[in-house]
Structures are given as C-alpha cells and as structure tokens.
Amino acid sequence: MQFVFLLEQIVNGLVLGGYYLLIALGLSLIFSVGGVVNLAHGAFYALGAYISVEITKLLGFGPAVVLSPIAVALLGILFERFLLRRFYAADPILSLLVTFGLAMIAEQLIRIIWGAAPLSVIMPAVFKGSVFIGDFLFSRYRLLLLAIVIAVLASIWLLLHKASFGRVVRAGIQKPDMVAALGIRLQPYMTAIVMLGVGMAALGGALFAPITIVHPAMGAEVLTVAFVVVVIGGLGSFWGVVISALLVGVVRGITIHFIPAAGEASMYVLMFLILLFRPRGLLGERIEKFET
C-alpha cells in the first residue's frame, strides 16, 4: 500500500519535472550558446500563458496550446535581434541587468494590459478527472502533459544530435571561433535557439494555465525553479538538464509525502548537496570559452 502511494508521488514528480524541463531547457540552451543568462525567460513563460488565455477565448484550448508558443517564438526573434545580440560579447553583468530589467517591464506590462487579478483557462471537460490503474491514481490532464513533453524533448534531441543544425550549434558552444573560421555565421543559429527556448517556455505556460492561475508574477516564480534545475543539471548538457528536472520534481514529491512543510526547500537542499560534490552540476560540460 505504502509502496503504491510512493510510486504515485514519484510518477507525479516526473510529470512535474517534465514541466520544469520545458522552461529550464531553453534557459540552458541560450546560456550555452550565447553565454547569456536570460532572466527574462520567465516573462516569456508568463506571456505564453496570457496569450493562450486570449486564444482559448477565440478558438478553444487546442489551438491555444499550438499558437501561443509560436507567437512567443516570433517575439523571441525581436528579443534576440534587437536586445540579446548586443550582449553576447559584453560583460555578463550587463546582460543580467538587461534581461532582469526586461522581466520587470514585462511583468508591469502584463499588469497594465490584463490587470493584477488572476485569469483562468478552463480545460476541456474530457481532460478533467483521474485515470485509475488498480489503486494507482493519475490525473488525466497530466498524462497528456507528459506525452507532449516527451514529444517535444525527443524532437529537440533529434534536432540537436541528428540534424546539421545541431552539429553547428554544438560546435558553436565549444569552439565558436572554429565555426566562424569555417565560414558559418552563428547568428541565425542563435536566433533559432532563442526562438526554440522561449517557445518552449511559452508552451509550458500554455500547458500549465488550466491547472494553475495565470497572474503577472508567474514568470518570476518559475524562473527560480528553472534556474535551480539548470544549475543542478550542469550547463551545456542536454541530459543533465533532463535528469535534474526530473530529480527536482521527484524529490519535491517525496519530500511532501514525508515532510510536507519542507517541500519547497527540498530543491535548494538538493542543489546544495549536488554542488558540494559536483561543482559543475550533474553532467556539466567543460566549456572552454567560459573559463578565464
């Protein structure tokens, strides 16, 4: 009996981890390629949720989940072209300040446009309720969420490891000068990475909107978790971020099962322990350009 309950928590934690992953993976990619910690990443997550609220009103929930990330990815082009691009070679403190400022502006803009009161997306009735397998219970909507996350993850992995796009990006992470010497401009790739990153964050926002509340500060809330996931996983590592996101989700679930009040602290303790033994994170790669 106790085992089934624990298993429930573990599976539930994996799903939650999958959702963290959507946000953290983009953050990690943008940092690995551009060397910029995008503190405005949460803002794109929030925008994804807000835009999905609007599209749901017009076209329904399904189109909202597809169109909202696309809309945000397009915004990502402007963000990369006119803002981020100026800071790849600059002191990292500058890009931190700029993206932090952008996050604040975005939050206040959301407050001005949509108001401070939380909004809600009603999920289609088919997804409400739970699936039972014997005594094992699982939320139907979260199963859908899990399936989408796995599909997105698989596509990203294929893109990065099996397509020529990925070869350039990975080479760009390690040896940008060599890539340039071969006559390949990294900038269009960087634009694509930012689009992909903020698009995934927006997808997270759109998918989570029906089960949480859509409010102006939601971006700032999720950014902290995403950052912890990236640090635990190790920069530049695809699988590091995947494992770390799942680990954070599961550890939180198990902690709440045994000591509920410590649930939110668990991920920070985890980060502390992992950095103590592996300062570079679980699978962090050595990236030469970040070493002095």
Binding site: Y88, G115, S120, E221, E291
Partner: protein, 413 residues
Amino acid sequence: MMTKYNRRTVLKASAAFAGASTLGFPAIVSGQTDKIKIGHLTPLTGFLGALGAYAQLGLKMAEEEINKSGGVMGRQLDIVSEDSVNPATAATKAQRMLEQDGAAFLMGEINSASAVTIMQVAARNKRFYLQIGARSDALRGKNCNRYTFHVDIPSHVMVYAVGKALVRDNMMRGKKFYTLTADYIFGHDLASAARTFFKENGGEVIGDELVATDVTEFSPFLLKIRQAKPDVVCSNLAGNQVTTLIKQYAEFGLPYPIVGFNLNTADAWAAGEGNLSGTWPTVWYHTLDVPASKTFVENFTKKYGKPPENHAWIEYISLKIMAQAMSETKSTDTEKLIAYFEKEAKFDILKARPGYFRSWDHQLTQEAYPFTVRPKGQAKDKWDFLALGQAVPGANESLEVLSVPKEQNTCVM
C-alpha cells in the same frame, strides 16, 4: 561571440538576481492632492497582490467621492498608497510615511504578517492605524495594541460562518476532515480556530498539512489526501493559493467535498465556473441585497467596468469611516480618533446593520456570510456564480455572538 569571463561570476551574479526576483517587483502608486495626508499600504505583488489591486480601486473611489464633495473639514484628502511587499518592507515604508511624508495616520494591509509589523510602527510612533484587510485572530488578540483598529472579520468569525453551515448540512459531527493550512500567522490562526470549532462540534481532523505560501503546485498534497480518504477536505489557505488548490482539486476530480474557511471573491472568480464547489465564508459580496450596497456596486462597475470585490468594498467603507471620525472629532489627532472609535460610534458599512468598533479589542463588529456555488447555468455573468447565504448572526441575534468572549481573548491594550 568569443568572450572572456568566468563561469563562477556568471553563476553568482545570476543566482543573486534570481533570488532577488523571488521577492517580487514592487509596484508603486500614489495620490496627488495635498492637505490631509494618509499613508496606505497593501500587497500589490505576491500571492495577495490581486486582492491589493482591488483594495486600491475601492480606496481611490472613496477618496474621489470625498474630495469631490469638499473633503473633510474643508481639507482635501491625499493618500499615498504603496505596495507593502513583505513584513519588513511594510514596516520601513510605514515609518517613512509617518516621518517623512507627513501622513496623519496609517491605513491598509491584507497580509496578517505585514499588519503585525505596521501595528508595531503605529504603537512606537503613537499614531493611529486602521488595519483594514488582515484577518488573523492574533492581531486582535495577543498582538493587539491601542493604536490599531481592525475592519475585516477575524479568522474565528470566518470559521464560525462556514462551520455553522456545515453543522446544518450534517457535514460536521463524526466527519473526518483533512486540512491544508497556509504556513504563516494567518493560516496558523485560522487552523487553530478551526480545530476549536471541530472539537466543539464533533468533527475529527485526520490530517493537517502546512503549505508554504509560494506553493503553486498541489498535486503531491492531493495524492496524500486521497490516501487518507477523509470525508471532507478543508482549506485554510489564503490569496491565490486557494484558487490554485481549487483548480487542481477539480483537475484530479477527488470525490471528497471541499470547503474552506477563507476565500476572497477575486480568488473565487479566478478559479472559473465549474471548478469551485463547497461552502466558503465572505465578509461582503456584490449581490448583497442592501440599497446602499447596490448603489456602491453600480457606481463602482460604471467606473471600472467590473464589479467590486470584497477588498474594494472594505477599503471604500474604511475611508468613509475615517472621514466620519475626522469630521466628528474635527481632528486628525490620534488620541481624539481613538476616543471616538472607543465610544463604539456607529458606521454605515453598506450592510443591513451598521457596524461599530468594540472598545476592548478594537474589532469592527459586523455581519458575515457563508456562500456556496450556484448550480451550473444559473449564473447571470462570470462574476455571479456564487450564491450568498443568510447573514450570520441572524437578524434577531446580537452581533456579538460571533466573537470570542472577552475572558477568552488575550488582548491587553
């Protein structure tokens, strides 16, 4: 893209930023005119931020009405209203408002923890503070002071309003309750009032979990609740956490009825129709059938394009209360105001019965209401899916029956 900097520097700096961002971005709004200056604090960010936004709308409307009709004692009101952010910042800002901004007195708050620190500032400076929206019993109990008066209903009244409805519906005696409690002063107070009520009325608590106020994901708690198989699930949460819990509860579709001892209408509206169920308490609702209340709702809706939430109502009547007190005493002096309130002067609070502040714990004595969710399809609009129950105490009972008797209250002025 070739850069020379240290990974450690990047990580350290970004960790600091990420940490700072969790504190929330403060929003600042202030009034313009001069004359009688009033310092007002309310949370505009964080889990109570949406309520604070409504609070400002109600306050602003009252300020405009009063100033348009000539102000108080011929002087215009000038309210400086800011985001209280957190208890420490709230205290700093309150001190600044009194010392530098020249505020005559302080008003506001929704967060009980911030209210405590503002109350301390008021006491230290010997200045009047009208504590409007924070509901923790402790503020009128062991943390009380003679400079502070409280407008919103305290925790035990909310427990009573819903508890009585549960007793009536046979959902109390012999039933097993599983409670989720917000892990700060307000939640702790609410849970303790709830435990007292359960004990006196034969309900049994089989599980009580403390939930940090930044939790936005309740699924692990929901799984625990299902394992415990209670008869009723009971929320002692606050702010937008109640909304999130309600939505995720509906998502998992657990079979146990859910009730709660605290819910603000803005948070109920945010849950959306079809997600909310159960019985909840409220201090006021825009469908209340009282002429003065209806006029207020009409004017507010005309002005802002949406009906007022209970925090808009309470800020509106609070400023009217202060205007009446200043006009009657012809003063903004703290001692004169305290004396006026302690006389238990009557105030029109847009309810069937006027309210008055009890002299010994400074609590506004007033009616409260339970509310339930209308059956599907009966709501007139997206703000109308709640049905207001009968006022408690009933029309023939004294307003005092809801209160903790004087001998049990730990307040010493």
